[in-house]
Subunit: 264 residues, 2 copies
């Protein structure tokens, strides 16, 4: 706590990002000591940097004095092409899919070893699901994850399948061999299913969105109650939406192409 020698600029930026990273979990509000614990930084350092982040607007204070993510950070983040750029192009097609399904419609990108949810449209009476915008789903247990993985290169697949494959339900596939069979099936059929593999009672159907170079850019899915007839019956609508977004990506290519960057 004491001996607060100023460190060079490099690590100050890293410390600020560690503080922001502490909010990437499910905590919406954190106290000074929560942040010190989460980052491993001295309270005095957290206090000083957090105060600067509040001045900027990247963090805000709650009436109780806790810290939360600020609206300024969100405003800047809305310029992210892999999230909002893609979202804007995809929205009319997601909307169309929602109109016919009246279930959860999701848009996700591959980020590290997870599927990161970029958008979710939900009816008020749709079933409870785990995913929320900005949240992550495991690649091996979600339909969007399997659609992303099936269309990725061998290096990405090997890395993902070499990890411990957690069982979320008794139906989660937890061996690389079983998953490789499903990924091959997904490539053949053009869509992926997750049948109560992520949550009991929920079934989802996803299709990959391919960029101009046939690289996978994102995946779109519908999540519905397990009892709701055959999930495969949604596959045409899901693939149609994915195809629509892919066409929009190709046609809408700005100079420093969104699509090129989407794969980065």
């Amino acid at each position: 706590m004491s001996g607060n020698n100023e460190v060079p600029g490099r690590s100050v930026v890293m410390k600020a990002s560690m503080i922001l990273d502490a909010f990437a979990g499910n905590r919406v509000a954190m106290s000074l000591s929560d942040l010190a614990r989460a980052t491993g930084l001295p309270s005095s350092t957290v206090h000083r940097i957090a105060r600067e982040l509040v001045t900027w607007g990247g963090l805000e204070r709650t009436p109780g004095g806790d810290y939360t993510v600020g609206i300024r950070l969100w405003e800047i983040a809305a310029r992210s092409r892999r999230s909002y750029g893609l979202r804007e192009l995809a929205m009319p097609f997601l909307q169309g899919l929602f109109d016919v399904s009246r279930q959860h419609v999701q848009l996700a990108v591959l980020d590290g070893n997870d599927a990161l949810l970029i958008e979710k449209i939900s009816a008020a009476r749709a079933i409870d699901t785990i995913g929320r915008v900005g949240g992550r789903l495991p690649l091996h247990a979600s339909a969007v994850g399997k659609a992303l993985l099936a269309s990725s290169g061998e290096a990405v697949q090997s890395r993902a399948l070499a990890r411990t494959l957690a069982a979320y339900t008794p139906f989660t596939l937890t061996t690389a061999a079983a998953l490789r069979l499903q990924l091959a099936e997904t490539r053949r059929c053009g869509f992926a299913l997750a049948v109560e593999e992520m949550s009991l009672g929920a079934v989802s159907c996803a299709a990959p969105i391919l960029g101009p170079g046939h690289e996978v850019v994102a995946a779109v899915s519908v999540v519905m109650p397990a009892g709701d007839a055959s999930p495969g019956r949604w596959s045409t609508a899901v693939m149609g939406a994915a195809f629509g977004v892919a066409r929009a990506l190709t046609q809408h290519r700005p100079p420093a192409a969104i699509s090129a960057h989407l794969t980065g």
Copy 2:
């Protein structure tokens, strides 16, 4: 450019935020020299800090070497309660409003002297509008802006009306007196209209969303073509959606209340 003496931590955080702020305009990709120009910082400083932001994921590089906002920033920003927390609660009601209108549906909060757009649902064939998610609309010329202003305290109104009120079209109200009359009308009727005041050919109808303490939290609007019958005929649907979100805010109050923070 030379004499790169390391400055204390405080200003490094500020310099990093200046670099991120440079993306808050309409630029999605910026070169090193663009960033140096926009921030007024030496290229060497921008280069060093931007590299760290890339390592973290707050910035990403395009294939051409430019910088763009990174998906990591977006992931953290998705924890912002005044944007995504509110958005999640509001989405089913926005969706309902979209279903009946098939026009642009917008959700905005008051931020500084602007209405900041948190969400927008658009049909593929809806009219062109200025607003986009993460973008800002003027308080005096937009329906969401007038709805927010009409429900705000006298201090907020005076500050907003004391500014230069830009004329976006020949129909924009540019005097405080004319706007005060409309704000009183908005309070009396429960909704605000902007009739070609922001863009020629576009009309919008907005209603304020009030929090548990009757403080204004956000506003919801429908934007439609000017020729599309009387905009007032949408007022009931718009007010209904606003009321639905307000009820959800009150019922859904988490421990460190979203609603309390929303007003902060």
